[in-house]
């Protein structure tokens, strides 16, 4: 112990940082805005399938009734009510149900019944050939981010990031207005209404405006797709991210992954949705807020950034069209996101 020395005094006064630029191993394709699937007309059919976690027939009844109320027919997939531990059926069953919905020309939109975990297990086996010819809306969020990112990158078809069947309330009279509005925004997206979204101002926002294709989803899932065929392309795009139930340190690590893989570098704008973090363990206080975690990664960029956008694992979770060009305006009075065309 006597030989233990301290090197604190050796530390150089001026410590220089050398920035290494991340090597991008998966070059980005220059995507134009995605193809828009046909908007739905009364009498069109929406298919419901479980691509990830399992759900019962009972649990989708509220969604089925509401979509019928909207004037659509509903086709319930074979995976609804199926259960293979956490999954809505085996990989083969979930794959087959989704594939069948993709290839069935009478189905004009596919709503994934719920998230959970499981899309990544079947994504590489899905055949998108017919879907590319006869595109249709694929709807969902959370684990469904796999589909959004994969379809955006490989098929160039727009998708809808929104609540799913498990978020439709059993008793609408007890539902909060933001939840009802969020669900109704799915209908608006599907019938082709031009979408306008607003969010209240956050003092951490970076003002500015941006025009670009909207992409994004669940941050954990986006990180998980890095290096795969579903890796998200963010160049010249407006990126939105959300997550829930993660420790702050883990959220920080995910944002570092975005930065170190070059995904924050050439954005037009950044939209931060809900981030309900898991409480730090005692003695492990991370000491940074979500806003600080995000802003420190993008100090060298000057694009617009907004926080508290209504997207995420929360009641206020508006339907967003991924792959479609939007205009993001962030100023002192708040945030507006407007579908461009």
């Amino acid at each position: 112990m006597k030989r233990k020395q301290f090197i604190g005094s050796l530390l150089p006064a001026a410590f220089s940082f050398q920035a290494l630029s991340a090597e991008i191993k998966f070059p980005e394709k220059e995507n134009n805005s995605s193809k828009i699937p046909p908007y739905l007309k009364p009498g069109d059919t929406i298919g419901i399938t479980a691509t990830a976690g399992f759900i019962t027939l009972d649990e989708i009844q509220s969604a089925v009734s509401k979509m019928k109320e909207w004037g659509f027919n509903v086709k319930v997939g074979a995976t609804i009510g199926k259960k293979d531990f956490t999954y809505g059926g085996t990989d083969a069953e979930r794959l087959q149900d989704f594939q069948q919905m993709l290839d069935d020309n009478s189905v004009k939109a596919i709503m994934c019944a719920r998230g959970g975990y499981g899309c990544v297990r079947i994504i590489d086996k899905i055949n998108f050939n017919q879907f590319k010819e006869n595109s249709k809306w694929v709807i969902g969020f959370s684990d469904i981010t796999v589909l959004h990112s994969h379809i955006n990158r490989n098929c160039n078809v727009a998708t809808i990031h929104s609540k799913m069947c498990n978020s439709f309330p059993d008793d609408w009279s007890k539902a909060e207005q933001v939840q009802i509005d969020s669900i109704d925004s799915i209908r608006k997206c599907l019938v082709g209404e031009k979408m306008i979204y607003t969010a209240t101002a956050n003092s951490n926002n970076k003002n500015g405006s941006a025009t670009g294709e909207l992409v994004g989803g669940n941050l954990r899932t986006i990180e998980n797709l890095t290096g795969s065929d579903s890796d998200i392309h963010t160049k010249n795009k407006i990126l939105f991210v959300e997550d829930t139930g993660e420790y702050l340190y883990s959220i920080d690590r995910m944002f570092w992954n975005l930065k170190r893989t070059g995904k924050l570098e050439k954005l037009k704008g950044l939209i931060i949705g809900g981030f309900k973090a898991k409480k730090d363990d005692p003695g492990e206080e991370f000491g940074k807020t979500i806003e600080e975690i995000v802003l420190e990664k993008i100090t060298e960029y000057d694009y617009a950034v907004c926080f508290d956008f209504p997207v995420g694992h929360q009641k206020n979770n508006v339907a967003l069209k991924c792959g479609v060009s939007h205009i993001l305006t962030v100023n002192n009075s708040g945030t507006t996101l407007t579908q461009k065309n």
Binding site: T86, T226, T261
Partner: protein
């Protein structure tokens, strides 16, 4: 591969905490043991620092101290106090110019996987995946895992024999040994610390993750081609795995077996590399032979 000079008595080992906070007392047994082995020990300010949050210091403090130890020729090896989380925040700020000219052993695991793979991929410099300071506590400073580190840093080639497991896939594999913590091996894909796995023997371990999350991490490695052209896989400990309310329905071993079902290279389970006591020193980038047999398996450095 470049192998830094092995340690001789009288050489100096630096201790720094590049990630999570560690109280100084938790490194005392480690320091005493290293001194007992005949080394000088220099301790950075990040150990037992004034930091009040998760980290052992600010990014600048942690990066600066590690940079100093990397550059200081009088320091022959760096043993990281602990992991936690934090290397990803500073790795791109480190300058490896002097380290490349005068490489030294970097010793640690868990979050340290980031710098192991970074120096392996970018500079072909070997490092030690091995126990860190806390592993010397509670009278464990003479256990076989700590002794494996003692031997490794002096250049003794290791030969680890370990028990068989019903899921093992028998065979012999030779290749460069790479790997570490599964979460980090996934997190660095696509970054400047990413790694090629072709012809390598890959080892993985993790702690405290949900089973579905382990599956998702393995799917990422698989989908990004990491399992395609390797010569063998070593499965270490998966400590304190958590299950979801709706049970995942597979054990950790079954999850791995399922992911690796398409490949016919040797695979062994229960190798002593983990966040538990069982954690032997492994030389990243060195060539090893993995022999998975009926009764036992052997990993030997060639």
């Amino acid at each position: 591969m470049i192998f830094p000079p092995y340690l001789k008595k009288g050489d100096t080992i630096g201790i720094t905490c590049p990630a999570g906070y560690m109280i100084a007392a938790n490194a005392q047994s480690c320091i005493a043991t290293l001194v007992d082995w005949g080394y000088h020990v220099v301790v950075g300010k990040t150990l037992g620092s004034e930091s009040k949050n998760y980290f052992s210091g600010t990014d600048e403090e942690r990066a600066s101290e590690l940079q100093t130890m990397l550059d200081d020729k009088s320091i022959n090896a760096i043993l990281f106090g602990r992991g936690g989380y934090g290397m990803s925040r500073i790795i791109d700020k480190l300058n490896f110019k002097k380290f490349k000219k005068n490489p030294k052993w970097l010793i640690g695991f868990s979050d340290i996987t980031v710098i192991h793979m970074h120096t392996y991929s970018n500079y072909k410099i070997s490092s030690f995946h091995a126990p860190m300071a806390a592993a010397f506590n509670d009278g464990e400073d003479k256990n076989e895992f700590i002794l494996s580190l003692k031997n490794a840093i002096t250049g003794k080639k290791a030969k680890y024999k370990f028990a068989t497991h019903p899921f093992n896939k028998q065979g012999s594999a030779t290749g460069k040994l790479i790997g570490g913590n599964l979460t980090l091996l996934a997190n660095i894909i696509g970054t400047a610390s990413d790694y090629e796995t072709k012809n390598c023997i890959l080892f993985i371990e993790d702690i405290g993750e949900y089973l579905y999350s382990i599956d998702r991490l393995l799917q990422q490695l698989k989908r990004s081609g990491k399992f395609d052209k390797i010569s063998g896989v070593i499965i270490g400990g998966f400590t304190d795995m958590k299950n979801t309310e709706r049970p995942f329905g597979k054990t950790m071993e079954e999850i791995i077996q399922d992911v690796l079902a398409d490949y016919d290279y040797p695979v062994c389970y229960n190798f002593p590399v983990s966040h538990a006591k069982e954690n032997v020193a492994l030389k990243i980038g060195a060539t090893y032979n993995l022999l998975v047999k009926n009764k036992e398996s052997v990993l030997v450095e060639l």
